[in-house]
Amino acid sequence: MPLKVLIVDDSSTIRAVIKRALAMSGVAAGEVVEASNGVEGLAALAKGPVDLIFADLHMPEMGGVEMTRRILSNPATARIPVIVVTAEPNQKTIDELRGAGVRAHIAKPFTPEAFRNAVTAVLGTVHA
């Protein structure tokens, strides 16, 4: 069964790149919902659950870490894995993501294989 995926990034360019990488990765992504910041991401989740979330780290209004904290604090969404996709070069910041509940991180620039590996790591499969 295809995965329902939420992509949260303030760049429509990066959302397009992620969608293409997902399509090439072998990950069975079905419906893809897009949001341009954490606030919009939470609003999208309120409309219906997803199987997996890809989020940018730095976004206006609400970034990926705060969005992840709110997702984890809501019993209705707490089990949805969040994977951060970022160009952030600071390893300390990357390490802190795990403490905030982020399940995996993909560094930009990324390959389709990076998506497959990250999805497999958090879901154990590339299918729902």
Binding site: S11, S12, T13, I14, A16, V17, R20, H58, T86, A87, E88, P89, N90, Q91, K92, A107, K108, P109, F110, T111
Partner: protein
Amino acid sequence: MPETGNNLASESLGWSLEMMAFVSPMPWESGDAPAAGDEAYMASIAFSGARHGVLEIAAPAAFARMLAVNLLSFDAGEVGDERIRDVFRELTNITCGTFIRRLSVDPGEVPNMSIPRVEALKLPVGWTDFIESDGCTLLEAEGYPIAVRLRDAA
């Protein structure tokens, strides 16, 4: 740093374009300096850590438009000024992230990057000045020129 840094910057740009858009830039080998067409942009991003400076990328708007339409599947009608600026912004952000990771030798250092800024270049002077500036590396990608340089690097 300038020589090594400029080489690393152009390699990081090439790697980022390959990963982001499957475009493999090559050194610009035509004898004449390329023209930028009707519109060109420059994106800049400051970085700090073990090294600091500003990484700048310039290219014709037509290059970003080509990436958006042909490789990211946007409709041509959707590719206006803001989309073009976004392509430049993200390409520069990703290139700088790659560049900094390649520069890093000390795991204890704390690298940082600013938010990329994009501006239109005045033509033809702005483009010509950029590609003829010290340390600028000129590449060719899908027939378009794309230039990268480091400024105030140390």
